[in-house]
């Protein structure tokens, strides 16, 4: 899932300090799971903003809501009735949700309330680790289910490199060498012969090289 972290409170305070009606909009999707932008975080941020405005002697209306997903028009449309009353919205969704809200409510100021970081897993509560870079052409079948694009710091296709030291990456001793992980996994699977033939260059055309990407699924379109 998409992983994000809450933006520093002072950054958000600085952005909304001159408004009097602000909506804090969470997203019940990915950002709820990593506890950065769900209803709970909406309530905490709204409370902090109310305290800030009150102690500053300012009357402000800080409302709270959370949508099922901010990356879908149908859910964003639920705000259409009340959007007019707000001066600004702080969206705690990932970058996709913030942008989609800004696109849908063109004349409204939308601020991001989180920093969107990566596609990752929950290793444990509060510990999220990157696993996928959404390169658009998955090669996990050839690498024992461990992605060298996301987990090798150099995104090497024929690793490990000389910087692999006792299973750790040279850039940081806390980062496991992706290719060491791949080697160990292929060994377990009895597929070490894969290392005997070099991997062909990766087709990066499905990655960011062509600018913003689009998926068209004619079988699904109505």
């Amino acid at each position: 899932m998409i992983k994000a972290v809450p933006k520093p409170l002072e950054e958000i305070l600085d952005q909304v300090k001159d408004f009097t009606k602000v909506l804090i909009a969470g997203c019940d999707g990915c950002v709820t799971v990593c506890e950065a932008g769900g209803l709970k975080e909406v309530k905490v941020l709204a409370s902090a903003l109310r305290l800030y405005f009150t102690q500053a002697g300012k009357q402000a209306q800080i409302d709270e809501t959370s949508l099922t997903r901010q990356c879908e028009k149908e859910y964003l449309a639920q705000l259409s009735d009340k959007m007019d009353i707000y001066d600004a919205v702080v969206s705690l969704a990932c970058g996709c949700g913030v942008q989609y809200m800004a696109e849908m409510y063109n004349n409204k100021i939308i601020y991001p309330g989180v920093d969107t970081c990566f596609l990752g897993v929950n290793e444990e509560r509060g510990l999220y680790v990157e696993r996928c870079q959404a390169c658009g052409r998955c090669i996990l079948a050839e690498t024992g289910g461990i992605c060298p694009i996301a987990r090798c710091s150099k995104r090497m296709l024929n690793g490990p490199c000389g910087g692999s030291d006792k299973g750790k990456c040279e850039i940081n001793k806390d980062i496991p060498c992706g290719w060491e992980l791949i080697y160990e996994r292929l060994k377990t699977l009895g597929q070490l012969d894969r290392f005997e033939k070099p991997v062909d260059p990766k087709d990066w055309s499905t990655s960011r090289d062509g600018g913003p990407r689009t998926i068209v699924r004619e079988d699904l379109r109505i």
């Binding site: 305070l13 409370s47 305290l51 800030y52």
Partner: protein, 124 residues
């Protein structure tokens, strides 16, 4: 034990300080508390294993928030006591009440014109 402590303290009982949420603490200040203390069991003695340690992290997070929004993190504190430390509890409540008296009413009560006399909230 007939221990005396200031009467302007409201005690809110919870089963474990692990139940105390960031929102409970923030709401106390929104409602105008001048100060809040969270009193949990001694570290390592939590019946639920780590409830008081979770509370400690939440208290620290709320202190940071209070500092940033201009209320002041010094109005919130956490103490760890056993159920046999009633004397120390009364002493802490006296100390914290004095400290809050020195700090004066919460900026929230000052701003809303409700600053008639300090109230300290205690969560045990």
């Amino acid at each position: 034990m007939r221990l005396q402590y200031p009467p302007n303290v409201r005690i809110i009982e919870v089963p474990c300080t692990g139940k105390v949420d960031v929102m409970h603490l923030l709401m106390a200040f929104e409602y105008g508390a001048d100060g809040v203390i969270v009193v949990g069991c001694l570290e390592g003695d939590c019946h639920y294993s780590a409830g008081n340690l979770y509370a400690k992290k939440r208290v620290n997070r709320v202190k940071e928030i209070l500092d940033k929004v201009g209320v002041g993190g010094e109005r919130l504190a956490m103490y760890n006591l056993s159920s046999g430390m009633g004397g120390r509890f009364a002493e802490i409540v006296r100390e914290i009440t004095e400290k809050i008296m020195e700090l004066g009413p919460s900026p929230i009560r000052v701003a809303t014109g409700k600053a008639t006399g300090p109230i300290a909230e205690v969560t045990t």
